[in-house]
């Protein structure tokens, strides 16, 4: 392909290339080996280290835009927590998310029920649903969860649920698992809850947000971090699962290689054009 042709390349050819490079490995997996990184191991080990049967707050702050990255890690985290017989209180602070979070929660609960471990709503887990207000909700919960959430997602009065009788405020929980797509999310939980109320935290987040949370990881404000689909896939590997995140990593690999090639090729074209103009 000549320099001029590359320079004038219709972007729709690039779109087609991306589409095919993502589609291909989904149809025919390459089986590229996946490693594990320290922040992901820390996430797993922090959950593994809490006592069995503990009360854990899980805040799933995402919507369908974050589904491919965050739903797999949410499912794996729920499985790890429920295998430890932890009792969960789940919230969602993203306006587009409550339906998706509920569906994710019930799909994992149904897996356990199918394996003969009947998880009972109201006793083993409570889904409080969405509440508007961003950080104000987080601080409000600090003086009483029921003050912010008088009813759960299903319209039940929170005071009537057996699990919630053991829940007063953040002091009732041993850990906060924040699965976050942006604002409000992990950053706001760190700012408003982690230090102020002394609640240890781990975070799973979209890849866009992950670089921003590394300082929190280094300072100890976060005890573990899963970044994007790669983080979710590594977490699945540690847990011995082969979920959608792992299945997507081959496609991710090829697409990343293609984008790297685009950057190099685009600059080579421009460099040759500049040299041709100078001579």
């Amino acid at each position: 392909m000549s320099l001029t042709a590359l320079e004038r390349l219709d972007r729709r050819w690039i779109f087609l290339a991306v589409g095919l490079l993502v589609l291909g490995p989904l149809l025919r997996p390459l089986g590229l080996p996946l490693g594990t990184s320290a922040p992901v191991r820390q996430f797993h080990d922090t959950i593994a280290g809490i006592p069995d049967g503990s009360l854990v707050l899980v805040s799933c702050d995402f919507d369908p835009g974050g589904k491919p990255e965050l739903v797999p890690m949410t499912k794996t985290a729920l499985r790890q927590l429920w295998e430890k017989r932890c009792r969960l209180v789940i919230t969602c602070l993203w306006v587009g998310g409550p339906g998706l979070v509920g569906e994710t929660l019930e799909s994992v609960a149904d897996e356990f029920r199918a394996k003969g471990r009947p998880l009972e709503y109201g006793k083993d887990y409570v889904y409080l649903g969405f509440k508007a207000g961003y950080e104000a909700v987080m601080v409000l919960m600090g003086k009483g969860i029921a003050g912010a959430y008088p009813q759960d997602q299903r319209g039940n009065l929170v005071s009537t649920l057996p699990l919630m009788r053991n829940v007063r405020d953040y002091s009732s929980f041993v850990l906060l698992v924040s699965i976050s797509a942006g604002y409000p999310g992990t950053k706001e939980w760190v700012q408003q809850v982690n230090l102020r109320f002394g609640l240890p935290m781990v975070s799973g987040c979209t890849a866009v947000s992950a670089p921003e949370y590394y300082p929190y990881l280094q300072s100890g404000q976060l005890s573990g971090l899963l970044g994007g689909m790669a983080g979710a896939a590594e977490y699945e590997k540690i847990r011995g699962e082969k979920g959608t995140a792992t299945q997507g990593m081959d496609a991710q690999s090829l697409a990343h290689a293609f984008i790297a090639l685009c950057i190099v090729a685009g600059n080579l074209v421009q460099w040759r054009k500049r040299r041709a103009a100078q001579s």
Binding site: I14, S37, G133, P211, P215
Partner: protein, 216 residues
């Protein structure tokens, strides 16, 4: 007084909320808790206002037969239908099998996910057409981007697997994230925190008034 009294109210409430962070006494914590409850309720009304405004603007567009008015009609019908269905479904509108959940699962959720998925194509196109390395700094940015992009996925180690472990793509990527990237991000975090504190002070002191809007 249409501006001064709200500004005064902002200052009083802002100062009180700052104070309540340091004072655990119930004379501070109960009113602060009440204000947070107020904020939650008013923000919820804000979402309803946003939807109502979208309805008003597009209804106007349909009535005046503006450009693309048939599509605006689709928007209006979809909005009204979703609201009516949601209200009719009642308090248990989020239970599995309701019409509201059908609209959420089969319309809202896939369309939102797909809108964001379009970005993947555009980022590839932009990488080829717009990512230009013209200075040393841009070169550093590009080098870091390439190492992180390839090192974070299995293909990086597949390419550099023959090298000693400390210099493979994944190890380099991890070092970049933990050391130089972390240092710069922390500096940005701290700088932004100081900026937020300064802006907060400006809002409390009434110097920053743009949130009030209007000309009077």
């Amino acid at each position: 007084m249409k501006r001064e009294l709200p500004l005064f109210l902002t200052a009083v409430i802002g100062l009180f909320m700052l104070l309540s962070f340091f004072v655990p006494h119930h004379l501070a914590s109960v009113p602060a808790n009440y204000l947070q409850q107020c904020a939650v309720i008013v923000v919820a009304f804000g979402y309803v206002l946003g939807g109502a405004n979208a309805l008003r603007v597009n209804l106007e567009g349909v009535a005046k037969r503006q450009l693309d008015w048939p599509y605006k009609l689709v928007l209006v019908v979809a909005l009204v239908a979703t609201v009516v269905v949601g209200l009719v479904d009642g308090r248990r509108w989020q239970d599995a099998g309701t019409t509201s959940m059908f609209l959420y699962n089969q319309l809202y959720s896939p369309m939102q996910a797909t809108m964001f998925a379009l970005l993947a194509f555009f980022i590839a196109s932009a990488a080829f057409r717009a990512f230009r390395v013209r200075t040393v700094e841009a070169g550093l940015l590009a080098a870091a981007a390439l190492i992180v992009m390839l090192g974070r996925v299995p293909v990086g180690d597949a390419i550099t697997g023959w090298l000693p472990e400390p210099v493979r793509m994944s190890a380099l990527q991890e070092w970049i994230m933990n050391v130089p990237q972390n240092a710069a991000k922390r500096a940005i975090l701290m700088g932004a925190a100081m900026g937020v504190m300064a802006t907060g002070l400006r809002v409390i002191l009434g110097i920053e008034r743009s949130y009030l809007g209007g000309t009077d």
